[in-house]
Amino acid sequence: MRCDEIRERFVDLLYEERGTPPASPELKAHIDSCPRCRKELDELKGLRGVLRGWEDEQPLRPVWIPEAAQEFVRRRFPFLRVVRYAGIAALVFLAFLAVSNAEFTRTSDGFTFKTHAFAREEPSGEYCTKAEMLKIVKEAIRDSEAYMTESTYRQVNAALDLIDKQMGRELQYVRSRYSQSKTKN
């Protein structure tokens, strides 16, 4: 048996592990008879001792565990859940105040609070004729000096016609005024 053939099998002699096949008698016989191989094996055994000089160390920091950490916080600080829900409720309330254009007024009794969230426009008891409404529109255009194209004007007319159709009471009023003026003439 040649020395270079068996050197890779030194590992079997270095680590004689339980449960693994023992080094062959042939290998052991060679080691006993070859001073060079025996020296090399002894050196490797010594090297194993040197390697143990690099001892284990403690980790720099404990590992951060995401879910377990959350569970820890939930168990340790149960009131945080209440605080979180209270915060959400406060945000919803503030959003409602903003949307409803809420008004706070300071009075002698303290504060009054009023929102426009559920307010409805009261229907007016007065009605205009189509001609009057057109006049108002024209005046508004003139007053604001806004630019209005012909098509927009036609759209306003169409909208007013629609209003006429939908509001029967107003139409009746217009008709009655019209008939009155006709009889006078």
Partner: protein
């Protein structure tokens, strides 16, 4: 049933405390594996964190809980390789690592004081340099066998190679470390 198996079973049954036990039991070994493989403590600590993130995400897919240690070491090795690639694209784990300035400074400081700690630090530094001078496969085989105490069969499983290859890597790794230590003036 081992502590690991118990902790793993608890975690797989939905008890998150089981994962904490698992981490506390294994973080030291994983840290030391990464520290010896990378030669840098901060990188090793990051690898430990990333390894346990990966474990947390995928441990539910582990078929045989008894294979957990092998599986965990494999994840660690992959994380070490990934970290090395991220740190410097042109470097690989096969290239030797230089000692950090801070460590050299501390080592010299202890040496000047002539304390026993100086000898320990110097020994560790020399071993680290010698290990880093070997290839990744040889270094990994040595660390798994010598420092983690795995059997040769387990070393082969973690490194995903035949037993004969694992033995060969271990032998050539030890020879490489021996030569490096001799160059550094250590008689072995």
């Amino acid at each position: 049933m081992t502590d690991t198996h118990r902790a793993l079973t608890r975690f797989l049954d939905g008890d998150e405390q089981g994962f904490t036990l698992l981490v506390r039991e294994w973080e030291g070994r994983i840290y030391n594996l990464a520290w010896r493989l990378l030669g840098n403590r901060e990188d090793a600590q990051d690898v430990v964190q990333e390894t346990f993130f990966a474990v947390f995400r995928s441990v539910r897919g582990l078929r045989d809980p008894r294979s957990f240690p092998t599986w965990l070491y494999r994840i660690t090795l992959n994380q070490c390789r990934a970290r090395w690639r991220r740190r410097s694209p042109e470097l690989s784990l096969d290239q030797p690592v230089q000692g950090t300035e801070g460590e050299a400074e501390v080592s010299h400081q202890f040496a000047a004081e002539g304390s026993g700690a100086a000898v320990l630090l110097e020994t560790r530094d020399l071993i680290r340099k010698a290990l880093m001078s070997t290839s990744e496969d040889h270094r990994t085989a040595i660390i798994l066998k010598e420092y983690l105490g795995l059997s040769l069969e387990e070393v082969a499983q973690v490194m995903d190679c035949p037993l004969s290859t694992a033995k060969s890597r271990l032998y050539h790794g030890l020879k490489g470390v021996q030569q490096s230590l001799r160059k550094l003036g250590v008689g072995v």
